[in-house]
């Protein structure tokens, strides 16, 4: 006997993971509007860094190897990359909220692909860091930053910011999958803080006098910063760009592996 199976009344839903990833990214962005405190690290902190660093450390431009007389040209790209790192941090933190609220369990129980769990936060991170770039760049230009190579320079800055956001998102997800509660926040921040300040964020390598010089030399953020600053310190050149791209790809691969192995730990 054969059982008669009627035709489905509707077409099966699309199994593509991209719309799900897009929805998760959008959800993360909407989360910012619902939690105004999340805007503080994203925009207020980088804006404060531009004002405070340029104000307090203005005389650093008198150092022998400092490549510009305009302190804003030095600190604006740095602050934008800090904002991009905090954008990644923010997506990690919204994932913590989802884990604690049980939403993540429902995502994990759904029969779909796991790819959206990674691509969604990347979309959110890129959107957040682009927003930060626009706001902080506008502030920097208003204060006196003067790009030296406008279109290629801004493109290099955006690529660097997106790269840092992707790296930071990988770091944040890898950590929150391992420490799935609010306590992961300080560790996340410390990691980003260390990476940022143990680089050429404050001064060029040649002007550093101590132990940070050795760390900054191998810190992947150093070539990324060099790539980001090109449009403010001269002309965009391939010789300065490719090390930054390599650093972005290498660091992203390492930290996204950290995230993927973290998710495997999270799933019982």
């Amino acid at each position: 006997m054969t059982a008669a199976v009627g035709r489905p009344t509707a077409e099966p839903r699309s199994t593509s993971w991209l719309p799900v990833a897009w929805s998760l990214g959008k959800r993360s962005m909407v989360g910012i509007l619902r939690v105004p405190a999340a805007v503080v690290p994203l925009v207020a902190m980088p804006m404060f860094f531009v004002i405070a660093f340029s104000g307090s450390f203005r005389s650093l431009s008198s150092l022998p190897s400092f490549p510009t007389d305009n302190i804003y040209n030095w600190f604006v790209p740095f602050a934008i990359l800090q904002g991009a790192a905090f954008a990644g941090f923010g997506t990690g933190f919204s994932t913590v909220r989802d884990i604690e609220g049980g939403f993540y369990d429902r995502l994990l129980l759904s029969p779909g692909s796991r790819k959206p769990l990674f691509v969604g936060p990347i979309i959110a991170g890129i959107a957040r860091c682009t927003f930060t770039l626009v706001v902080v760049l506008a502030l920097g230009l208003a204060l006196g930053a003067e790009p030296t190579d406008v279109v290629p320079g801004m493109l290099a800055l955006w690529v660097a910011a997106v790269g840092v956001a992707v790296i930071a998102t990988g770091w944040a997800l890898g950590l929150v999958f391992r420490v799935p509660n609010q306590r992961s926040g300080p560790i996340l921040q410390i990691g980003i803080f260390f990476a940022m300040f143990l680089s050429t964020g404050n001064t060029p390598l040649e002007d550093q006098v101590g132990w940070t010089r050795y760390i900054a030399r191998i810190n992947p953020l150093t070539p990324i910063l060099a790539m980001a600053r090109q449009g403010f310190l001269g002309h965009v050149e391939w010789d300065t760009t490719w090390p930054g791209l390599v650093a972005i790809v290498g660091s992203s691969a390492a930290l996204w592996l950290f995230a993927v192995t973290g998710l495997k730990r999270l799933i019982p």
Binding site: A52, G55, S56, S59, S62, N202, Q208, G210, W211
Partner: protein, 274 residues
């Protein structure tokens, strides 16, 4: 003849007993802080890390930037700033703890017990002040290991310790005022960015001579600049009672304001509770 007693509860408790209660509460405050390394350790390590990074990345600036005349190293220049930064962290912790006492109900139990109301506040601030002294000593010793010598010698170090103690009362007082008004530890912690901004827009990390425009104008009028500059004088140039005592006097004025504000907030909360 009529005797006016401001607070009958206070009148029932002798001053000696109130002192003992304040001492007990101060001890509880210090012990509570020491038992939570996650609370006090960042307050020590974060300023040290910032000083270490700044010394390494910007150490050359003392030879090129204005305002660094006679400064032997950037680390020596940063010693008073690191102490101030650490005490800011610690003071806010005292405020958060007061708020936590309110949230957990310990504060209500204190009110229900025959404890002097004033000693609740005095005990908390005394604890913060003692923690401030410990923080100052730790910084002097650690920076000393890395070659920083306080030019004013032992009297200068004592001035630094006293300064840290009074500053802890300032921050602890303002934080306690906020805690008593809001009853929320989160509200107290939210003040942290403000303290960080006021520290940055001062001579804490770089001299005001190296700044320009509105930023310099604000930094020169920031009380943190006045206090830090006086203490820095002891570290860089040598003993100068006038500079040192001026710094401490500014801190004392702020401490009086903070304690007054905290005391008023306490009275308001007591009125609401009764």
């Amino acid at each position: 003849m009529t005797v006016v007693v401001a607070d009958p509860h206070e009148a029932r408790i002798g001053s000696r007993e109130a002192f003992n209660q304040a001492r007990g509460l101060a001890r509880r405050s210090i012990r509570g802080t020491l038992r939570q390394p996650q609370v006090w350790l960042p307050g020590l390590l974060f300023p040290m890390f910032i000083a270490a990074v700044n010394t390494s990345t910007m150490g050359k600036a003392i030879h090129f930037a204005p305002g660094f005349e006679g400064v032997p190293s950037l680390l020596a220049f940063l010693l008073p700033a690191s102490i101030t930064q650490s005490v800011l962290f610690g003071g806010l912790t005292a405020g958060s703890d007061t708020a936590l006492d309110i949230q957990t109900g310990f504060f209500d139990r204190l009110l229900a017990s025959p404890v002097s109301r004033t000693s609740i506040l005095v005990g908390r601030l005394a604890g913060a002040s003692a923690t401030g002294a410990i923080q100052a000593v730790v910084f002097i010793v650690v920076y000393g290991i890395f070659g920083v010598r306080v030019a004013a010698g032992v009297p200068g170090m004592l001035l630094l310790v006293v300064f840290a103690m009074v500053l802890a009362i300032v921050i602890g007082g303002f934080a306690a005022m906020l805690a008593l008004r809001t009853g929320s530890a989160e509200a107290v912690q939210n003040v942290f960015p403000l303290t960080f901004i006021s520290l940055f827009i001062s001579s804490a990390f770089f001299p005001t001579e190296a700044m320009t425009g509105a930023y310099q104008w604000i930094a020169e009028r920031n009380p943190i600049t006045w206090m830090i500059d006086g203490m820095r004088h002891q570290v860089i140039d040598g003993l100068d009672w006038s500079e040192g005592l001026t710094s401490i006097a500014i801190a004392v004025v702020l401490a009086v304001l903070a304690v007054y504000g905290a005391n008023r907030a306490l009275r308001t909360r007591l009125r609401r509770a009764s």
